[in-house]
């Protein structure tokens, strides 16, 4: 695939899914500690999200880093906006910013959040 085609595909995914996580592995079988930690935070908040396993697609794995200008996986997108990687998500969840972001975007959360 060309870079433009990859970016278009990523762009479509990002815009079609309210909460989208690019990760290594799947939510049930994460293949990297940082991806696992991010899934855990989203699950704790009770947020429904779609995930893309970058290990299954080398074009996406490389393309997403260029798309977001961000060198690492995982990457979380909410309503088409890049929110951050594992460190930022963790920090935001700890101080309540992530919960606020979900509320501002009218994303449903579970009871415990």
């Amino acid at each position: 695939m060309t870079d433009t085609a990859v970016h278009a595909e990523i762009d479509k995914e990002v815009k079609d899914n309210e909460v989208l996580l690019f990760m290594k592995g799947t939510p049930v079988f994460p293949q990297c500690g940082f991806s696992a930690a991010t899934v855990q935070i989203l699950s704790y908040l009770g947020v429904k999200f779609k995930s893309v396993n970058v290990l299954e697609n080398m074009d996406i794995r490389q393309g997403i880093k260029e798309y977001s200008d961000w060198p690492t996986i995982p990457q979380l997108y909410v309503k088409g906006e890049f929110v951050g990687g594992c460190d930022i998500i963790r920090e935001m969840a700890e101080n309540g910013e992530l919960q606020q972001l979900m509320r501002d975007n009218e994303i449903a959360m579970g009871e415990q959040a």
Partner: protein
């Protein structure tokens, strides 16, 4: 391939001269670090932009030679 703590610190300082950088080797394996970077240059920038500045300072090493760098950025 791993990176030396001093090298990481030097690269960040080169790009963000006023940065106060403290680095911890999380596992003692020279491959999993945590960095806390404080700089006035972060003022007015989002957290994503602040982290991008640090990643740029590392010129492509992040996610390549450097597997894990837990990053925290703050303004003074």
């Amino acid at each position: 391939m791993a990176m030396d703590m001093g090298e990481i610190e030097a690269m960040i300082r080169e790009a963000i001269p006023d940065a106060e950088v403290s680095i911890t080797d999380l596992r003692g394996d020279g491959d999993h670090y945590a960095a806390h970077v404080v700089s006035a240059a972060f003022e007015g920038k989002s957290r994503v932009q602040q982290h991008q500045m640090v990643y740029k300072a590392l010129r492509g090493r992040m996610g390549d030679q450097l597997h894990a760098l837990a990053l925290q950025t703050n303004t003074p």
